[in-house]
Amino acid sequence: MKMTPRVAKLRDQSRNAIPSISSERAELLTEFHRQNQDKALSVPMRRALAFQYLLEHKTIVINEGELIVGEKGPAPKASPTYPELCTHTLDDLNILDEREKVPFRVSDEVRQTYAETLIPFWEGKSMREAIFERMTPEWKEAYAAGVFTEFMEQRSPGHTVLDDKIYHKGMLDFKDDIQRSLDALDYENDPDTHAKDEELKAMAVTADALIRFGERHAEKARELAKAAPTEKRRAELERIAEVCSHVPAHPPRNTWEALQYYWFVHLGVTTELNPWDAFCPGHLDQHLLPFYEGDLADGTLTSQSAEELLQCLWVKFDNQPAPPKVGVTAQESSTYTDFVQINIGGVKADGTDAINPLSYMMLDVIETMHQVQPNPSVQLSEKNPEAFAKRVAEVVREGMGKPDIFNSELVVEEMLRVGKSLADARGGGTSGCVETGAFGKEAYILTGYFNMPKVLEITLHNGFDPRTGKQLGPRTGDPRDFANFEELFAAYEKQLNYFIDLKIEGNSAIEGLYAERLPALFLSLLTDDCVATGRDYHEGGARYDSSYIQGVGLGTMADALTALKVHVFESPTVETPRRGVSTRRGVSTAMGDLLSALEEDFAGRERLRQLLLNRTPKYGNDDDTADEVMVRVFEAYFDAIDGRPNTRGGAYRVNLLPTTCHIYFGSVIGATPDGRRAGMPVSEGVSPVQGADRHGPTAVLRSVAKMDQVRTGGTLLNQKFTPQVLESSSNLDKLVNLIRAYFRMGGHHIQFNVVDAATLRAAQANPDQYRDLIVRVAGYSDYFCDLTEALQDEIITRTEHEGV
């Protein structure tokens, strides 16, 4: 179905809205703390009352023509800030305002408010400052060197997804649950009773706050109805008022109320804090189905009007850019996308095929709306019909790189491996980029990216970092003294374990700070079993608690280590700079020669670089020599992390995804033994090094599938096709076959860029003509013209698989 005129207008309004910084939330929060600083309130209660204050006083927005209402800021794309987490400096505001890509406009008033009120009040109080104060000098040096990033220094732990609970429970029902937990507290025997009591009462405050927030929208709708320009709009506004005074207090009765309720919850979670990846509705096609069927049966909705409501919700997501960053991240962050993932398809809790008419309708909405946000994904199960898979392939061919496609069976198996129940695993899925989680029951926190090739560079310098000039890691030996590949690999593993330890030590301190200072009461209300246990989401209240460290540069690692293995240890050769005579030398000489070439960034050593690039087995070509090294790199990473305890009673897990961090990570590493020049991006996700895969997609998939992905919490694989490859209907079938075969081999995720390089170059040269060109970046899609040149170049370089 095409967009209705209403939706077309709303979408234009969203697309044309200029992202800006709104200081409203920060001001209200400051006001609240000023008024209440002398009161003896527990931390949870203070946070809950602050949440209530925000929802009681923030501007209520109902845009013209809207059916689903509510904004995070005072207008579409007016983005709130979170000074209790990270307070923007005036420099930050200037960078955000002036940066070429993805700017946020900052008005003079906002600057003045920051200078006069917000910065003075929050200085020394923000989470970010507390975190950096708590970190050790070793942690700080490794962080500054780019060994790892830290996720929680300016956004709160998140990547969290809702299950079906709001569709049969209103906020009043949640309050009843809280009361039951309060009644069950054992004041005599449980020493934590006081803390639980406060936590539960604070959760109840947030439930009331959301009800009031809904009521305020109802009031606003009634007020607007009085002055409505048309009778039709007046009726719509009256309906909005009715919807908003029923939900979120009570369970929804129809599709409209269900969508509006979700949206209020979404705004609640993202107003309370700024969790990573905002918040996600999970299996929306499954959750909405009973309402949709009921509405069709009693004639209150047609499939067209249901689709229009979905389109309206789609626009709401697009109105909310990702929270504006501070510090160096403000300079480098290259997206407005907030990674809201909507799961389509998969299986039901009983394991049967979950495809329903809404699954198809959502695919239509993706195609029609052609938006960067939200980020829909398909959970493709063996049980889903081929007709559905083919419809997915058709949407992929449209060239937006949407939707991502996940292996439903593997996602479930990943969760079973770590002890989640079958029902919880099936009710789970993926969110963010590619992360696996049990929806509504898990806090699965991504803690930061980890730069594996940087650790190799440090290993090749005996623990020293040539860029920062510091001894960052332990002394694991001069590589010229390594007699064989095993000694080199053992040294790498020592360095790896050292930096992982450092990262986990830091994470523990940070997790503790969140539990202590920034409990998330509203998010806890929505996450089982926080209400039942009286414990916060940040302190282990969720049924499942996972922490992730996301490995980056797997392909670069595989190729670099393979090059060392082949050209240094197996047939140690030294290439003369010009002519083709290579001489066999000792291992130590060969290692020394390679290291000095890396130091010089291959200056004058182009023949050596070409040898490394073209006469070395490369990951991504179904070549067992390189692929076995990849598997070893993965296993070492897995062993360093998997199963280690976090502070919330859960465990660490690995996943392999980069978002755009492979560019930053590449920028802090010198030349690498795979022939990569200094500063160039490292490989992304589990994809081969850009341009190194030369035997087509089946070879790539075979290589990648050699990793036991079921032991990860997500891997990201990017494949690019030119549109010609998918032109005919039979070739669309073959795309489906390709995906199905990869999943049979144990692949977790695959995404496609369907564009040709010429189009991308043209877009780079004439951005104005290609403004709506959407490409896959990593775990998400973005407007190509909004990307930095480096990122654009990289996307162009990614191998095209010409199926000619």
Partner: protein, 309 residues
């Protein structure tokens, strides 16, 4: 892996093995290209497939100008000019010494001699994709029938491995050869270029009588056949040729599928890399309207016509 005592050491020249091949038969396939062809079609888009001997390919844009090849060449056929190596093709014996030392891959040999086992090892790798898509392996060329011993052994091995087999052929081989091969082929992709024999001789170097007779026999024996025809403007895109083609294919018993493959000039660069002149220099691809019109005409004969295969 079945053993082949009759041909244990025969290694035919293979110039490419292409995985994820989408246009050489049903499903996702691996296409094995054998080198050497008795025909010499002017429009051939795989000029490196024509000779059965190893050949040097030169990609100037990859040349670093390091000069390693100059030292390596035993014929002194390579010199440096403007920072790039230049080959005196007349002196080149295609020995491959320069390709050995050329790391950037500006100089590469189009040919690898492989055993049946080696070919099978590669073909086997994409089995999950064949199973998912109903694909398999296609032998193409060159003219695969020019290597009957290897072809028979490879086809038998593929069949025994449970793989679907296709043969992309011009059919220009003695019937005895085809008769030996045919029991092991699930699908023939059979090229028919021109019905007019005089013109066929002129443009491909051989008469079409043998290959048309072979096609007729295969059809009468009930084999699964897709006829394929390149559409080359000025050569066979004429009303008379198209009518003759339609009529001929339509009368073949059990054959209904005809793939028309519009000519493209992409191959010109390949000729340059082999140090050869491109015989059809400047010839344009047929326009979309011509292609569609031709397809329509052919459909009037009751044929299932696919553009592009």
């Amino acid at each position: 892996m079945p053993q082949f005592p009759n041909f244990p050491t025969y290694q035919p020249p293979i110039f490419d093995i292409k995985r994820f091949s989408l246009h050489d038969g049903p499903g996702i396939r691996t296409t094995v290209f054998l080198k050497g062809c008795p025909l010499s079609c002017a429009w051939c888009h795989n000029p490196e497939s024509q000779k059965s001997t190893p050949e040097l390919i030169f990609r100037a844009e990859r040349c670093l100008g390091c000069g390693a090849c100059v030292d390596a060449c035993p014929e002194e056929a390579i010199t440096m000019a403007e920072g790039r190596s230049v080959t005196a093709w007349a002196r080149c014996t295609h020995c491959g010494e320069c390709a050995q030392v050329c790391y950037p891959g500006a100089r590469e040999m189009a040919c690898q001699e492989m055993t049946v086992e080696e070919v099978l090892e590669i073909v086997e790798r994409d089995r999950p994709f064949y199973e998912e898509s109903g694909g398999g392996v296609t032998f193409s060329g060159g003219e695969p029938l020019a290597h009957p011993d290897f072809l028979e052994a490879a086809l038998v091995a593929c069949r025994e491995a449970g793989l679907h087999t296709a043969l992309d052929t011009s059919g220009h081989a003695p019937w005895e050869v085809i008769d030996r091969i045919r029991p092991h082929v699930d699908l023939f992709l059979y090229d028919v270029k021109l019905l007019d024999d005089a013109q066929h001789q002129n443009d491909t170097g051989v008469s079409n009588r043998l290959l048309l007779a072979n096609l007729q026999k295969l059809a009468e024996l009930g084999h699964n056949i897709h006829v394929r025809t390149p559409l080359v403007p000025g050569i066979n895109v004429t009303p008379a040729q198209i009518q003759a083609l339609g009529k001929f294919v339509a009368q073949l018993p059990g054959v209904s599928r005809l793939d028309v493959l519009p000519y493209h000039e992409m191959a010109a660069e390949k000729y340059r890399r082999l140090g050869r002149d491109y015989p059809l220099h400047g010839l344009q691809s047929p326009d979309e309207e011509t292609v569609q019109k031709t397809a329509r005409t052919l459909r009037e004969f009751g044929l299932e016509v696919h553009v592009g295969g």
